[in-house]
């Protein structure tokens, strides 16, 4: 019965909130500590993924399936019938993987943007990257590019890249990029994209509206093998580049001048990190639509739990961001079953109240 699994499932964000109530451990970050925390969060991710695998609108008996998944690998899962195998391995599993990748990529970019802009409210969306992607994708839908394979994601990716270039172009003076101007440039670009999107929406025919709406709130249901490979590859490469700069990023958080005084080549590091995080966002948004709040909330939560050292914060955010997105997507799949919600609705509904809770807690 999926209801039972679902009830267990709902405890996960509560658990996260409860954990966040603890004060961060005062110990400094060491390599064993990073390994230990990453391993624990990987377990959380796997647990969430297994629960997500067993949950869905099709009636699959959760407990016998779980038993079969755990012990049936020797017999090639002979205990499952054809339909069950299709649902589990061809429908749910790719989607869970995809959700995990998207959540991880958005959280990864969120951590980087918050640190570089020294602004806990920064996230990929604020920089106008998703707005540009949205304009590209919606234009593609309206022009009928959807018949071309990967046509819409390609246009979204181009839109995101174009937007990044514009925002950086505005904020750049000489070889320097001013963080505040960058933030402002992003906000202004977003306002412009909103207007363009509203224009496109109000002039488009109603048969396109549903697709556009799903794209605007995020949609993980169309994930194919190519999307998974593309976003997965981008995530892996992005993580490698960003994590190799984790320690310099700590000093940049103290202030750019302080980072220079501590021997960090600030401008070079900033440019590398901005570009990498922007590309990761562009890839994620192009494949999944605009899913808000994940890039904002997850790094915040992890920082409260684990402290501000990016050598721990980055892997933790990536793993927990993935787990959270799998959770949110599963909720989106089943609350109005057999219908489906855009996953962005779920992340915003979880994220906004949680964010208010964070703000209020700080004020006390």
């Amino acid at each position: 019965m999926y209801e039972q699994v679902f009830i267990i499932f709902l405890f996960i964000p509560l658990l996260a909130v409860a954990l966040a109530g603890r004060t961060p451990a005062p110990a400094i970050v060491t390599f064993p500590r990073v390994l230990k925390t990453s391993f624990l969060l990987l377990l959380v991710f796997l647990l969430v993924s297994v629960l997500a695998l067993l949950t869905g609108s099709s009636k699959i008996d959760a407990w016998s399936t779980l038993r079969e998944l755990l012990f049936g690998w020797r017999t090639g899962f002979a205990g499952l019938d054809e339909t069950e195998r299709t649902i589990l391995f061809s429908i749910r599993l790719p989607r869970i993987l995809f959700a995990g990748i998207i959540g991880a990529a958005l959280s990864l970019s969120g951590v980087v943007f918050q640190a570089l802009l020294r602004n806990p409210l920064a996230e990929p969306y604020i920089l106008g990257i998703s707005g540009g992607a949205a304009v590209g994708a919606i234009a593609g839908i309206l022009l009928g590019v959807a018949v071309v394979p990967m046509g819409i994601p390609a246009l979204a990716f181009l839109g995101a890249l174009f937007s990044i270039m514009i925002v950086f172009g505005i904020a750049r003076s000489g070889r320097q990029i001013a963080s505040n101007t960058l933030l402002l440039a992003g906000v202004i670009s977003n306002a412009f994209y909103s207007a363009v999107i509203m224009y496109l929406l109000s002039t488009s025919s109603s048969d396109h509206l549903h697709g556009i709406l799903f794209w605007l709130m995020g949609d993980l249901s169309m994930a194919g093998g190519r999307d998974i490979l593309f976003t997965g590859g981008l995530l892996a490469a992005g993580f490698a580049v960003i994590y190799s700069h984790a320690r310099p990023l700590n000093t940049i958080v103290l202030g750019e001048e302080t980072a220079l005084q501590l021997g960090v080549p600030v401008e070079r590091t900033k440019v590398i990190l901005f570009i990498t995080a922007s590309l990761a966002t562009a890839g994620a948004v192009a494949a999944s639509g605009t899913i808000g709040f994940v890039g904002l909330i997850i790094p915040h939560l992890m920082r409260m739990l684990l402290g501000s050292d990016h050598r721990l914060l980055i892997p933790a955010s990536v793993l927990f961001g993935g787990a959270f997105m799998v959770f949110a997507d599963t909720v989106a799949r089943i609350v109005v079953a057999p219908g489906e919600l855009p996953v962005g609705v779920v992340t915003a509904m979880c994220g906004a109240p949680y964010f208010i809770y964070l703000l209020r807690r700080k004020a006390v």
């Binding site: 005062p26 400094i28 020294r118 958080v253 103290l254 005084q261 501590l262 960090v264 501000s308």
Partner: protein, 273 residues
């Protein structure tokens, strides 16, 4: 050979007037130098040029004979450490983490602090009496405590020169003195060279061996406190009359600012030192 040498340094933001011009000075191991001057005289800009953060249009700054702008940032940071003005932090690092970041110039881009780094950081915290604050968040500390943690971070860099940029601006009189006492001790015992920008002429006189008085980006005068801090120099540079006395305990010049009524009385009577 001097550790640091500024050779005819001139600096301006593009097309604006010169902010610094013709600055030549040398720092020897163990020097304690104060840089004073009115607002806008170029004190902080000079520190940034010495640390290689800004590039001068004229002249150059040399660390151990090498041009600072040609050196890698981490090579500079192994020689020069900066204690900034107190600033609040956006993200909650603990005091321990902040001091360990002082090891940054000695580490590779990726990696974790080793035992040696932790030991050096601990020593720096003991010297600055901040070991008991180790596990507290920076934002939970008082201004004086935070400032001591920032000195510890600078010491963890194992520098040969420490630059102070108006470090006591937000501290009360007791914490100001405690701060400079600590720096003076480090200066004496570790032979650390110190260069301090300050608005407080009296503190500069108390602690510095040598004082550089800046006026409109040029060195007005330079030398021992009793030679630089005179009624005439202060009037020329700050455009105000003060009383300058030799303090009965220290023998060092101390200025007494005068309110308007005393300033006029003073010029009438030709009051002198």
């Amino acid at each position: 050979m001097s550790i640091l040498k500024a050779d005819r340094v001139g600096f301006r933001y593009t097309e604006s007037d010169w902010i610094l011009r013709d600055i030549t000075l040398e720092v020897q191991q163990g020097d304690f130098i104060g840089i004073i001057g009115p607002n806008g005289s170029g004190k902080t800009t000079l520190l940034k040029i010495i640390d290689g953060i800004l590039a001068p249009q004229e002249g150059a700054v040399y660390l151990d004979g090498a041009a600072v702008r040609k050196m890698k940032r981490n090579a500079v940071a192994r020689v020069v450490a900066v204690v900034p003005q107190d600033t609040a932090m956006v993200f909650p690092f603990s005091a321990h983490e902040v001091v360990l970041m002082g090891r940054a110039p000695h580490l590779k881009q990726w990696g974790f602090e080793g035992e040696t780094d932790v030991r050096i950081a601990h020593k720096a915290m003991e010297m600055t009496d901040t070991a008991n604050l180790m596990n507290r968040g920076m934002n939970a500390l008082s201004g004086g405590e935070r400032q001591r943690v920032l000195i510890a971070r600078a010491l963890a860099q194992e520098p040969r020169i420490i630059l102070l940029d108006e470090p006591t601006a937000f501290l009360d009189i007791r914490h100001q003195l405690e701060f400079f006492d600590l720096i003076k001790t480090l200066n004496r015992e570790q032979h650390l060279s110190v260069m301090a920008v300050t608005h407080d002429v009296n503190l500069a006189s108390l602690y510095c061996d040598r004082i550089v008085l800046l006026q409109n980006g040029r060195i007005h005068s330079m030398g021992r406190p009793e030679d630089v801090i005179t009624k005439e120099n202060i009037r020329e540079v700050y455009g105000i009359d003060v009383a300058v006395d030799s303090n009965q305990f220290t023998g060092l010049p101390q200025i007494t600012p005068l309110s308007a009524e005393y300033r006029s009385a003073k010029s009438n009577e030709g009051l002198s030192r």
